[in-house]
Symmetry: C2
Subunit: 369 residues, 2 copies
């Protein structure tokens, strides 16, 4: 099979970069002195190879390394281990991008639903999708269900858990999906089919399977999970085991900040099967630049060996006022997620939600005031 091509950015002086690049190729493959390797096949087929070194700026180099696909096997955890494992401990290296052989892309398979299906489920035509978040944690399932009902009456497409909601005593997962699932079916929605609840999974792989089963019994077919907390392999296993369920990926613990966000969130989370990827939008509570966000969204959507596009979900301190600017910036292939910015309306929650929804539904591109 063709090798993986891995792109690192390395801060290094010009005299040392060739040696440094070679050391990365060894660290991410055989992890031992080449002089100590007898086996001819290992030397020719397994040891990583530096294919190119390009200066991007003074003291900053782009290094392109070919790694044997056989070292990954078919496991998603081993994929991230071979891409960045030990090298992640080196401060001066960023994992910037990867090119995977088509066979491996097909094996992981990407989103089972993705942009088109999430739009269809919401009856959203070709417009941007809308989303809000249930919080604060500490509320009971009933209080969260009341919030969900009011979001739905305002016309929101998807209503996700805050990623802090797990299986805590004050709002156990099973009670939550039951209460919120029922509330959303009863509430209906003024502008389409009932709003979709997106509960947040937590615990080990078995706990998450139990949670998905409880969600499905409550009529819920969309869930959220955090690949960086549960592990790539376990995320991919859940996706494979539940073809009817759509998966949102949450970026919590993506603070392995030296993986370029467009790669980690836009590309790798998509590869594993995330149908929508939540990420911190520029100008919100987090420091991603507008360039990073644009690149991330493009990576989530662009053609990639026939994978479905995953829905970019810019979030993190967004407000209804920013809707036109965000739609201009991203276009309609997106889900707009506003949580605290709507919850701040308190008693006027449904009305503020309806205004947000109307702003998205009625937006005309290129017709800004």
């Amino acid at each position: 099979m063709d090798p993986l091509k891995v792109i690192y950015h390395v801060r290094c002086d010009a005299e040392s970069i060739a040696e440094r690049a070679g050391a990365i190729a060894v660290e991410q493959s055989v992890e031992m002195p080449l002089a100590a390797i007898d086996d001819a096949t290992v030397l020719s087929d397994i040891v990583g190879k530096v294919e190119a070194i390009e200066q991007k700026a003074p003291g900053l180099f782009e290094v392109r390394i070919a790694l044997a696909t056989a070292t990954v096997g078919r496991d998603a955890g081993q994929l991230i281990n071979m891409l960045f494992g030990n090298t992640s401990i080196h401060d001066e290296v960023t994992l910037q991008d990867v090119e995977l052989p088509s066979d491996l892309v097909k094996h992981f398979g990407g989103p089972r639903h993705g942009l088109r299906e999430l739009r269809q489920r919401a009856g959203a035509g070709s417009r941007a999708l809308t989303c809000s978040a249930l919080k604060p944690q500490g509320l009971s399932a009933e209080k969260l269900a009341d919030l969900a009902r009011r979001f739905a009456q305002g016309g929101i497409d998807y209503i996700k858990d805050d990623h802090g909601l797990a299986d805590q005593a004050y709002s156990p997962f099973a009670a939550r999906v039951e209460a919120i699932g029922a509330a959303l079916r009863a509430a209906g929605r003024p502008n389409g089919p009932p709003a979709r609840y997106v509960p947040s999974l937590s615990g080990d792989l078995d706990a998450m399977r139990t949670q998905i089963a409880a969600a499905q019994r409550a009529g819920v077919d969309t869930v959220m999970a955090a690949p960086m907390i549960m592990g790539f392999s376990n995320f991919h296993t859940l996706v494979r085991e539940h073809p009817g369920v759509a998966f949102f990926a949450h970026p919590t613990m993506a603070g392995a900040a030296r993986i370029a966000p467009p790669l980690l969130i836009g590309k790798l989370f998509r590869l594993l099967g995330a149908d929508a990827v939540v990420f911190p939008n520029h100008g919100g509570r987090f420091g991603y630049s507008s360039e990073t966000c644009r690149h991330l969204a493009q990576t989530a959507l662009h053609e990639w060996d026939g994978l479905r596009p995953t829905v970019p979900v810019p979030a993190g301190g967004m407000t209804p006022e920013r809707v036109p600017e965000m739609l201009d910036f991203y276009g309609p292939d997106i889900m707009l997620l506003i949580g605290g910015g709507l919850l701040a309306a308190r008693k006027r929650l449904t009305a503020e939600t309806a205004a947000f929804v109307a702003a998205v539904e009625n937006y005309r591109y290129g017709l800004k005031p």
Copy 2:
């Protein structure tokens, strides 16, 4: 229950630090504007509280935040999510330390074996333990078993897989544990009971369970796993489910480099039940300082609510020449891991291994030349 006390280091100017600290307390608890919270219990019991702010250097502050233990519940993944989840995405914040209520420490339980039992299994008395690594990947199970046999004949206590060894076609996990387990039983060891093989787990939680079962059938009772790749919850589940198995934690993907290594590797991996924690020693291939390494080892060993100590395993480009210096630096409560530095001896592998083992067994503290 008492709250968690979480310590962050924040790069920030003096005028803004109070506001920034408050924002972290909100981000890691309710993640929404406080003005939008109606619920009195949430405001009093769930919202994080800034307890102290101390300037450590110009532009660098230590912030101490109390988080409600109820938000963690009993889940290890949720623990790291609440400690650092979204805040990990902020470049200017490092997760520095955490103080946990005793009940929570007892729930997670720490090492089931730890330093004392790993010494007993190896018949190592009170000296430092020794370890080497099987690599390069790409070798067949038989060739790896031959390496293991030669390490054992040299007297090594523990022989671990390179963390790149997973379940690849060239050396499937089941074939590997069978070949290496048998080789080590047959080889015996000149200085004690047979050497212990420590195979590396990979894949999802189920795959790892299957691998542990295969290891146990092959007479293997020690395994290695990477908490940052498999996820905290799944690591903790394996520890709970296999009380007879000792666990080495590998630091791969610990490049969420803004978690202080003594906390992540010395404290949190120990909390979850790692019996030994591998980490990059100063002066090797990675950039940890000697101060970081000393602090990490102390954290792994110090008294902590009755938890067993976990074995510090400094590694990453170590050589037999460094044995006296490392023993002086760390003392005997340690496992010395030399992989490539022994494999480089090629045909003289057993003899070099024996010299390494003798250097550790015969070392007298404070009697350096």
